[in-house]
Chain length 298, copies 2
């Protein structure tokens, strides 16, 4: 499908991409670069992809270049690769924030390069190439964003790439992507970090108890709050405008609930609880989760 | 093990108890009462337990009486059964808040009755007897609380009952129970309700998107926010003192995070994220969740 593909940055996502590209035979040549020596050694030992020593060499002659590093490294990565990109190549990424990244790329005024941003909404709470797996993208959404001047056939080519990895693909503007993700992913993470911090800031006497009895709800938040710190620091900073607004709206809702608890306002409490119950139904209908009860898991 | 056991209230927990008592042969006679006609009909049709028409009759001659109704019904239930309880019987419950319930029972000045409160930390996001199952209590914690004057052999008898259902049993004071659960369960629920409300209070244009891409974090909160509204309204009101304090501490932590995002304080963000990552490890070590990555689930 592509003659050569380069993946830059080989954490959970990048290494899963390499595995999936290989498994699905999507390129004649697969090349990769990671600035960490231990990651490069791990990849050379375990896979047959070409692990490059130089980032600028790694993108030469590649028809598709995928940046899979933390967001804060994009600037440096782009600077290193920009003069070596093949004419007419597709340049994409896997980052969780789009608007500021798009600006970074546009500022470079790349010529004859098709910048089409991607965000495969996939991941686990583990990081590093040893946790990657080729099925990570199966049945997951991948959002693609691009400027109006990008040729249709290039967009279709990248969409087909994600479809072959098992993704469902959706087009969205850079701005809409950042707004929607601030609600579905970034706000939940901000909240999870805060509740886990609250629960363990305790007298020593209770610390063990809180861990011991976490199955009543807290457990589900700790999973989210265990995500990669380096990645999430970048996301929070790059999408800060949407995220701060979302936190403010959320705080208003929490204060509303607090007032209802304080006033023992049962009617109001029931109204709040019933409205959120309906959302669950819609999520299951949209195929985004299963009906299987989860609280009883070990 | 018991001659007769009565379960009052047959939702998810009550009906699971009936199934588990039956399966494990823990009583010669199993009796039950539910004030809902449709629930009683469902039970009569599907099981061989004695489904009683009268709540006061249902507890007669029972050695173990378990109240499994919503917390707000306890007062009425206790009033109906108190004069018919068998001498020396064990009276317990399955409620999620303990201190106010204990006060309700003590105020009745029951004579020759062993009130030992239970809280099996088990459940799913579904309610109603059709969702109950006998294995619900397996490997779950059950917290028992009691006053100092309760005979040791009665406590041991009730603890053995829960052990036979597969629970791990822990003694805790009524007060400590309510404090620990406010952090591990009640605060997470308050937060989940608020975030789901925030995410869907949106322009129509984005409502569908938020549901569609909920797998990035939001999904996990909607599961918690789909719990039974009637049950949770009672819990929030009965444990309001601990819960309101927990919400305040939590809001402080969230504001601290907000400040770090606003100031693009990467050092502070990394510190927050790393501390919550460690909690996850402790929870897995305590056997309260599995290591298996969960974000990739469909």
């Amino acid at each position: 499908m592509f003659n050569a593909i380069t993946v830059i940055g080989c954490g959970l996502i990048g290494s899963s991409l390499l595995r999936a590209i290989d498994k699905n035979n999507l390129a004649n040549q697969i090349k990769t670069f990671d600035k960490s020596k231990s990651v490069s050694t791990y990849l050379s030992k375990n896979f047959s992809f070409k692990v490059c020593d130089s980032i600028s060499e790694s993108v030469k002659d590649s028809d598709l270049v995928i940046i899979s590093t933390p967001l804060s490294s994009y600037k440096e990565v782009l600077k290193e690769i920009k003069s070596n990109l093949k004419k007419d190549a597709i340049l994409t990424d896997t980052g969780s924030v789009k608007k500021p990244i798009n600006k970074e790329v546009l500022d470079l005024k790349l010529k004859d390069i098709n910048w089409i941003s991607s965000h495969p909404i996939a991941g686990t709470e583990y990081s590093g190439p040893e946790h990657g797996f080729s099925e990570l993208f199966k049945d997951r959404w991948c959002i693609v964003s691009f400027e109006e001047n990008i040729p249709h056939d290039k967009i279709q080519k990248l969409k087909n790439f994600w479809l072959k990895l098992g993704c469902k693909v959706k087009e969205m503007t850079f701005e809409d992507h950042d707004y929607v993700l601030s609600l579905t992913s970034h706000l939940p993470h901000a909240i999870a970090y805060s509740i886990v911090r609250t629960s363990v800031s305790n007298e020593k006497k209770f610390k063990k108890d809180v861990i011991q009895y976490s199955a009543g709800g807290l457990r589900d938040f700790t999973r989210i709050a265990a995500s990669d710190p380096l990645m999430w620091k970048d996301i929070f900073i790059d999408n800060s405008e949407n995220l701060l607004k979302a936190i403010d709206n959320y705080t208003e809702n929490l204060n509303d609930l607090k007032k209802a608890i304080k006033n023992k306002d049962t009617k109001k409490l029931l109204k709040i609880f019933s409205s959120t119950k309906d959302v669950r139904k819609e999520i299951i209908e949209a195929g985004q989760d299963t009906e299987k009860p989860d609280f009883g898991r070990k």
